[in-house]
Subunit: 192 residues, 2 copies
Amino acid sequence: MTSFAIIGHLARTDGGFSLNDLPGSGGRMDVLCRCVNASLFLSHDLRRNVDCYLILCGEPAGPKTVKFSGALVRSLSPDERSAGALVKKVIDTPCGSEFREAAQGVFIRKGGLERLLGEHRFAVLDENGTDIRKAAELPDAFILSDHLNFTEAEEALLRDCPRYSAGPKCLHADHTITVLLNELDRRTASWT
Amino acid sequence: MTSFAIIGHLARTDGGFSLNDLPGSGGRMDVLCRCVNASLFLSHDLRRNVDCYLILCGEPAGPKTVKFSGALVRSLSPDERSAGALVKKVIDTPCGSEFREAAQGVFIRKGGLERLLGEHRFAVLDENGTDIRKAAELPDAFILSDHLNFTEAEEALLRDCPRYSAGPKCLHADHTITVLLNELDRRTASWT
């Protein structure tokens, strides 16, 4: 099982955003939707062994965490709007601090990064880490930031996490996930 | 300079599609928009040395080819809708068989795969090719299909093209582009 978590610093935490304007009204929800796509889609198949966590930190009710389960999700298409529609559907579901399934395979709870860090041993994907191709072994949980850098408070929480880099260029979060999954696919299939 | 060309078998060739329904009314225009994103975007930057050709083969006026120039394009954001809006803007521009700039850095002409094959030495990205990590050198132009396989007529045109594979899993076209660009980035930066 591989897990990705992406922090959406400005991502809207109620349904008051428009699917016609995910970047603006959604607080760059488009970034998070592309990360769901990169985490879960194969050609004509889903990655059933991947979970994708979206940590929504924006107005008016953040933080909340949405979990897309690759094993359980239904009604998800690859386009941004499809993932956005599922977030919009689940985000207003009353929830507490435990995950509640609010659409098939899509779960919601209150709380953000600190809670999630207590549950997984995350590695950080950023430009300054160990090359993923050089690592003898790779972890099974990775955390990324959206279009903004991690805040100082987040960096403090992530201080002890190992760091890995996907390559020499600074990439979007979804592209980084795609490159990392390719490396994991190769290791699993012994394509060295 | 690196070029990508993606065949959109059903992609709409006039402006009669809705930005709110790129997959349906656009004939899977969402796939092509994600390929534009994968081809051109770095974090807070564009890949100025990449061109992305969309070969639109759908109703009512196909084939047409739209070229996004990484060096010249303006007003392009990473979300699918942004690339879709540029296609919708240029697609009804009167054009002949030569590229005409119909938005900044976005060009349109009549004609499809056969014409483009006469201008670039394309390699095909599919599951059965040589592993891109194993190739001594990589070409600078790559062709991919959308969610559908190449047709028999396309396969006949592509018969003599070299073939490369991005990994052991069958990926979406945009994910394949991302993985390939990572390999090219590593070679350029001597990250071996």
